[in-house]
């Protein structure tokens, strides 16, 4: 007596939507999509206008000239430092995240706790992360006092101040590795979980050692996750701001920091817009690679 798919009344069928039903998903998505397109499209157009017009609305190249040639502008240093930070931080993060993921891929007592600890920094903002590491590394901070108490150093290591720029760079690297490795970890860990145990067991049956399992099964199957993690981290690295501003201010200029400084301190809206456009261009370039790669994966899974 139960309903079968054959005598199911037409109105209840979900597989063959009526004319109105067909448009429902578009109605549901339209508000969100319009909102997003406005909040991306308007600022993007406005940024171009700001970057190439003067205060009376006439076309000008003054902002670009300021950016490139003015002694006040720190564009080249900012560009260099942003890339340098990314180049140092990202490889360390990927290695660490890979290590953490492999550690947690086996079952052991306390695994849940370790997992919780590893993802905890995800919730810590860049500003807070910077402040926490300021607490650790300042002259009277934990790190210096611990080393002095242990008799390893006689006087505190200076991490902050313009004359210790290289130490500031190091402090930023430490803080970012500490805070943002969690993002890489989550991606790689999720990727690792998806690798079927069957492959690994099969390899074990044929006598593969730990390194052989890593080399021939885990790394190749982890490649998509690794790529995704790399690209997401690169995108975030172009926008690095809070940590740098808290730990080094403009001693280590970065692109986002210069945008902030030009905008809020000097009121050079056009120059700030240029910085924003440069960061956007870098991100779009990387994002394009990401989407192409993601699409390949997406179609493969066929969802």
């Amino acid at each position: 007596m139960g309903f079968t798919s054959k005598n199911k009344p037409e109105a209840f069928s979900l597989t063959q939507p009526s004319k109105i039903e067909k448009f429902i998903p578009y109605f549901l998505i339209a508000p969100a999509l319009s909102y997003l397109l406005f909040f991306i499209g308007y600022p993007l157009a406005q940024a171009v206008v700001l970057a190439f017009t003067d205060s009376s609305g006439h076309f000008t190249l003054a902002h670009i000239k300021y950016l490139l040639y003015s002694p006040e502008s720190m564009f080249y240093t900012a560009f260099k430092d942003t890339l340098a930070l990314a180049a140092v931080i990202i490889p360390i993060q990927v290695m660490l995240a890979l290590g953490f993921s492999l550690l947690l891929s086996t079952n052991f007592k306390g695994r849940e706790f370790a997992l919780y600890a590893f993802v905890l920094p995800l919730t810590i903002s860049d500003v807070a992360g910077g402040l926490i590491w300021y607490t650790m590394l300042s002259t009277n901070g934990f790190f210096n006092k611990m080393l002095m108490a242990a008799g390893i150093i006689a006087s505190p290591i200076q991490f902050f101040g313009y004359q210790y720029r290289y130490m500031e760079f190091l402090a930023i690297v430490i803080a970012e590795v500490w805070r943002a490795t969690a993002i890489v970890f989550v991606i790689i860990f999720a990727g690792l979980q998806m690798i079927s145990k069957d492959y690994i067991e099969a390899a074990e049956v044929f006598g593969a050692g730990t390194w052989e399992k890593l080399r021939h099964i885990i790394f190749p199957m982890l490649k998509p996750s690794l790529q995704a993690a790399l690209i997401i981290r690169t995108l975030f690295a172009f926008q690095v701001f809070g940590v740098v501003w808290v730990l080094a201010g403009r001693d280590i200029p970065v692109l986002a920091g210069e945008a902030y400084y030009e905008q809020t301190e000097l009121y050079h809206y056009g120059v700030a817009a240029l910085y924003a456009l440069i960061i956007a261009a870098l991100s779009v370039a990387v994002g394009y690679i990401y989407i192409k790669m993601f699409r390949a994966q997406y179609l493969e899974v066929g969802r």
Partner: protein, 272 residues
């Protein structure tokens, strides 16, 4: 035989050693930051005291006296508005992605995934001129609207996967027994999705609570907490900074503890 046993234990020791070091690397700075935020001035400046043993609420009070109180309120208001806006806009879209097959679905979803990658810096800087014209500059509503643009793609992707996790059969059964689609959503899918949605709301809250660039560019007097810390507390003495880091981290940690069951799955969804 013996060497096998020794090897086994040696490996256990190395393994647990590595796990312990990794966990300590993450947790020590948090514990130290919290301890130092409450440490007395004497303990801090005494080079002998590595771990403070005398505690005070003075630094937190000083930070509040500097104006952190209103900033915390502002942050809470902005985050709540952001949750409201991004859920009103994002829930329907998430539901549509989970339940309907329609033309262009893949392209639209890819577009949203792509928009998620858009740097917030380019949203914030030009928005100032528009906000001045609309009277939204230096308002909490303005910051919340900007934060919504940052959180919305995530909310859509998370809610879509939450709704997809509620079996369609339950909804169909409800509709067979006479519920409309809206009724089936309200009475069946929504209650089942509620815990996941709550976790998604927490995720949104943390995103907004932590965001500093847009908030500092778009406000002048109505600072949110990170913007306040970035502009005011940086010039203050060390203790104020320690107290600031404690107050910034606290709600995020509480929320993570509440939502920890969903944490990894959710970040997995948003980051992959």
């Amino acid at each position: 035989m013996v060497s096998d046993v020794v090897k086994y234990y040696l490996r256990r020791v190395v393994f647990y050693g590595l796990v312990t070091v990794s966990v300590l690397w993450i947790l020590t700075p948090i514990v130290i930051a919290i301890l130092y935020a409450f440490s007395t001035t004497h303990d801090y400046y005494s080079p002998k005291v590595v771990i403070p043993t005398h505690f005070t609420l003075k630094h937190i009070q000083e930070l509040l006296a500097l104006g952190a109180g209103p900033a915390i309120m502002n942050s809470i208001i902005v985050a709540s508005l952001t949750i409201l806006f991004s859920f009103v806009l994002g829930l329907p879209a998430g539901y549509a992605f989970a339940r309907y097959a329609f033309r262009g679905k893949d392209s639209i979803k890819l577009l949203i995934i792509g928009l998620r990658m858009f740097p917030i810096i380019i949203i914030a800087v030009p928005l100032v001129t528009l906000y001045i014209r609309l009277g939204l500059n230096d308002t909490l509503l303005g910051v919340a609207l900007a934060h919504t643009s940052m959180a919305l793609p995530f909310v859509i992707l998370i809610t879509s996967s939450i709704f997809a996790g509620v079996p369609t059969e339950l909804e169909e059964a409800g509709m067979i027994f006479g519920l409309s689609r809206w009724g089936a959503f309200l009475r069946i899918t929504l209650p089942l999705a509620l815990p996941g949605l709550a976790a998604a709301a927490i995720f949104t809250f943390i995103m907004s609570w932590n965001e500093v660039f847009m908030a500092s560019v778009l406000t002048l007097t109505n600072r949110t907490l990170p913007a306040f810390i970035l502009t005011s507390a940086m010039a203050a003495p060390d203790f104020i900074k320690f107290a600031a880091s404690f107050i910034m981290v606290l709600p995020a940690m509480i929320f993570v503890f509440i939502a920890r069951r969903y944490l990894i799955a959710m970040w997995g969804i948003t980051l992959r």
